[in-house]
Each structure stands twice: as structure tokens, then as C-alpha cells.
């Protein structure tokens, strides 16, 4: 589903964020990416959604070489990928409902369909009752779950999450991870960047480890 072929990324300042990373991730997989701060986890995820392009090497997503996707093709590409951001990135002046509806409105679904699917997604993350709340009135964990609902509401093939449990207590973190596992069970490829080694090593999924931009473990599936 996702494959990196000797991908390097050098930022303008000359810093190498990724060096010769090769990795294959299958369609049914849930994979954790770990490594010290600055190891290149975020950079790797950003490449998959074309927020960044490799300096060298190739990235294939769903059989398509990302080098062949021009700037006009980026929106369509991103609609197939759900993303959970570390800092939620919710629209603070819109309700929970409107935030979750955003990908569907962008994809151009009819508003009945939008209502139905947004509620299904909110139900899944246990926030159906808060659909009319504003994001600032929610706790950090709830905001993160709104972000997850928004990421999955468009039924993407791929789900990316960057530190989704970054500042949550262990109980909540485990719940969120369980949510990701459920999505993975219905066929979504899930890729999660996380520091929380204690948590992820308990979950028996593949773990990719990066160190200074190099892949040091978990490269082969």
C-alpha cells in the first residue's frame, strides 16, 4: 500500500531528515513509527500526504508514484488519506459537527449523506452527544477524538496519525489506540508515529524505528 524506496529528504538548511529509507507497508497493516525527537517520523508521514517531496528516492502510495502527482492532483490524493495531527488542527470557530463534516463537504457529498456519516463517525469515537459543541469547550482527549472522527469520516484507505496520544493519560491513550486497531480491522492501512514505546510494544504490531533519519528496525514486513 505504501512503499518507500531509498528515500532521502534534505531540508533547505542542509539538514538530512531522512536518509535512504526503504520500507513496505501492506494494505492490512497497522504500523508504528518510533524514534527520538527529530528522527524524521513527521517528515515520513508528511511525504505520504505530499506536504513534502523527497530529495531522492521514490514513494508509492496505492500503486501510484507520488512523483507523478502534480500540485493539481494533491487535493484528490489527500482525500484518500485520513490524517490525525498532534495538535488536532480543528477549526475553532466551527462546531464539532462542522469540523468532522469538512472532508465530506470537500468531497462533495449530499448533505443528508454528510449528516449520516458525520454522526456515524462521532458515534464511533463516542462524541455523538457533543456534535454541537465548539472545540474549545472539549478536553484534549475529546479534541483528539474529533480529529480522529474527521480523519475517518471520508472512509480513507490510509490513516496517518502523528503522536495521536501525545498528551493524553495512559487510559485514554490505550482507548485511542484501540480505535485505530478497529479501523485497521475493517481494512484501513494505519500508520502511527509515537514516542510511547511502553504502550505500542504491548500492542503486537510492527514497529519501525528511525534514528537520525535512518531506518534502524522494522523495515521488512
Amino acid at each position: 500500500m505504501i512503499s518507500f524506496d531509498r528515500v532521502s529528504k534534505r531540508y533547505a538548511e542542509g539538514h538530512d531528515a531522512l536518509r535512504e529509507v526503504s520500507v513496505n507497508i501492506g494494505k492490512d497493516e497497522l504500523v508504528f513509527i518510533t524514534g527520538h525527537s527529530g528522527a524524521g517520523k513527521t517528515t515520513l508521514l508528511r511525504m505520504i500526504m505530499l506536504m513534502e517531496r523527497p530529495s531522492r528516492g521514490q514513494v508509492l502510495v496505492d500503486g501510484q508514484n507520488l512523483a507523478n502527482i502534480g500540485s493539481r492532483g494533491i487535493p484528490r490524493h489527500r482525500r484518500n488519506i485520513g490524517v490525525v495531527f498532534q495538535n488536532h488542527r480543528l477549526l475553532l470557530d466551527r462546531t464539532v459537527f462542522d469540523n468532522v463534516a469538512l472532508p465530506l463537504v470537500i468531497a462533495g457529498h449530499d448533505h443528508r449523506e454528510v449528516g449520516r456519516r458525520v454522526r456515524a463517525a462521532l458515534d464511533k469515537v463516542g462524541l455523538l452527544k457533543r456534535e454541537r459543541a465548539m472545540p474549545v469547550t472539549l478536553s484534549g482527549g475529546e479534541q483528539q477524538r474529533v480529529g480522529i472522527a474527521r480523519a475517518v469520516v471520508g472512509k480513507p484507505k490510509i490513516l496517518l496519525a502523528d503522536e495521536p496520544t501525545g498528551n493524553l493519560d495512559p487510559g485514554l491513550s490505550a482507548e485511542i489506540m484501540q480505535l485505530f486497531e478497529e479501523f485497521n480491522q475493517v481494512g484501513v492501512t494505519v500508520l502511527i508515529a509515537s514516542h510511547d514505546l511502553a504502550l505500542i510494544s504491548r500492542l503486537h504490531h510492527r514497529i519501525i524505528t528511525l534514528r537520525d533519519g535512518r531506518l534502524v528496525a522494522g523495515g521488512k514486513s
Binding site: 484528490r76 482525500r79 480543528l90 477549526l91 470537500i106 443528508r112 456519516r117 472512509k155
Partner: protein, 332 residues
Amino acid sequence: MIGRLKATRSVPGGRREGASQSRTGLRDRYQAWLQHHRLSAADSMTRVIDNPVSSVMTWLVIGIALALPTGLNVALDNVSQLSSSWDSPAQISLFLQDGVSDDRARQLQAELDERPDVAETRFVSREEALDEFRTLSGFADVLASLDSNPLPHLILVSPAGAAAQSAALALREDLQAYPDVAQAVLDMEWLQRLNSLMELSRRLVLAVGGLLVVGVLLILGNTIRLAIESRREEIVIVKLVGGSNAFVRRPFLYTGLWYGVGGGVFAAVLVAASLWFLRQPISELAGLYQSEFRLRGLGVMGGLNLVILGGLLGLAGSWLAVARHLADIQPR
């Protein structure tokens, strides 16, 4: 961008769904596209109305900028209507050759009277002219000392039809060609002066109008730029979850449209109000001159055109801003 979806209150719950890629039909897409237009239009309108002070300021600025050239143009239209309502001022003076006799001159006058493009003629014989000159000029002594009359016969010709300047000019050319005519002089210099003055004013209005249109574009562009700036984070998020440039652009184009349309309405109201303000003194003035002159306003079509022009300028201005600034906003 996303539009407020509060109206959506249907089917709570919903069934559990697999993660299969969803397909939307072309028809559904079209309807969704229409719906996003509606949402963007309504959302932009709400934002405009939610900030009444700054919106009214923008409308007023655009309105004044559009009203100025429009008002001047209406004034010019009225002046040209007034000048064309005056009786034909043109008169052609035919000075005959020296040797032409009285009888020949009268015969010529009769001939000219037959012409369809001549309304009226008057014959002034050289003797009459000399008498007139003698009494009017006060050069009686000098004239008495002349042994012959230096003045030629004169026929005054009024062209038929109203003040069609070209017709009068053509007639003058024709008359000049008569062998008995020494010189045909068309006396309409003042009309030409008025016309060239009008032409000059029209060009000035056009130039001022052009400058103000550029000003309106800049104002709108700047207003939209600020709107884009204040929603930067929202734009980033929309792009991150797959919003196309067209999707991001749409609400800002509508914002520009609403500002422009509102400005056009303000301009029409301003022009109508100032005409109403002038109506009373002008009709009094016209009464003094026993004139039928009535001030001609913008009319419904004129007002509508102004609103449409405002809307187009709004779209153009926001397009400029959007083209310049939206591409710069990329997710980091």
C-alpha cells in the same frame, strides 16, 4: 469554506460502514457542487452582515467611487439633451460674386428655396446691407466718401432639420459650389465649441472613471486579502484534508461579489439621491427660461447596470487577491 451545516438535522445514528472507497455519481457531484456554491454564498453573506461597520464602510467607499463617474456621466447626458433641444442655431451666409445682378440674386434665392434641405432664405441686397451698416456702424461719413458700394449681395440660408451638424456642413459645401457664390460661411462655431467641450468632458469622465475602477479593484483586493489572512489557519486545514484551490477560493469570491454588489447599490442610491437633491432648483431654473427641460435620471436599467458593474468589479478584485495570496498558503 466549509459553510455552516447547521441546517442538517437528519437521520441520527447511522449504520456502521466499512472502509470501502465511496463513489459519488456525477449527478450527486453536480448537486454537491451547487450546494457548496449555495453554502459559500450564504456563509460569505453572513460574514459580511456579521461585520456591519466594516462592510458598510467598504460598500460606501466602492459606492462613492462608482457614483462619481456615473453622476458626471448623467450630468453630461443632460447637457447634451439640453443642447440638442435648442433650435437649429446654424445659418449659412452666402456672399455672392461681385458681378451678380439683383435679379440674378433673387432668382438664386428662389432656386435655393426649392431645395429640400433648405428651410428658409432671406435676401439682403448690397444696398440694404450698406444702409444697415451705415446706421449700425457709425461709419456713415467714411462710407459716403466711397464712390462705389464695397459690399456684396448676401443670402442667409437656414438648413432644414434640427441641429444635424453634418447636414449643415454638407449643405455649405453644396452652396459653395454655385458659380454665383463667392463664399459660403457656416456660423456654428459656438456649437462646435460646445461639442468639443462635451467630448473633452466625456473623456475626462472616462479617465476619472477608469482610475476609480482601478481604485475599487485595489480596495476590494485589499479587503479580500485581509479576509484571507484572518482565515489562514482554516485555509491550511482545508487544504490538508483535500480541499482544492477552487474550493478554497469560492467563499472569497463570493465575499468580493457581495462587497461589489453592495457598492453598486450604494452608488445607484447616491446618484439618485443627488439628482433628487438637484431636481427642485433645476426645474425652477428651467421655468425661468420657459424651457421644458426635465432632469433625466439613471433609470432602472442604469441602476441595474451599476449593480452588475459593482458585482463584476467585486469578483475581479477578489480574484486578483485570491490569485496572489491563496497559493502562498501551504500547509506546514
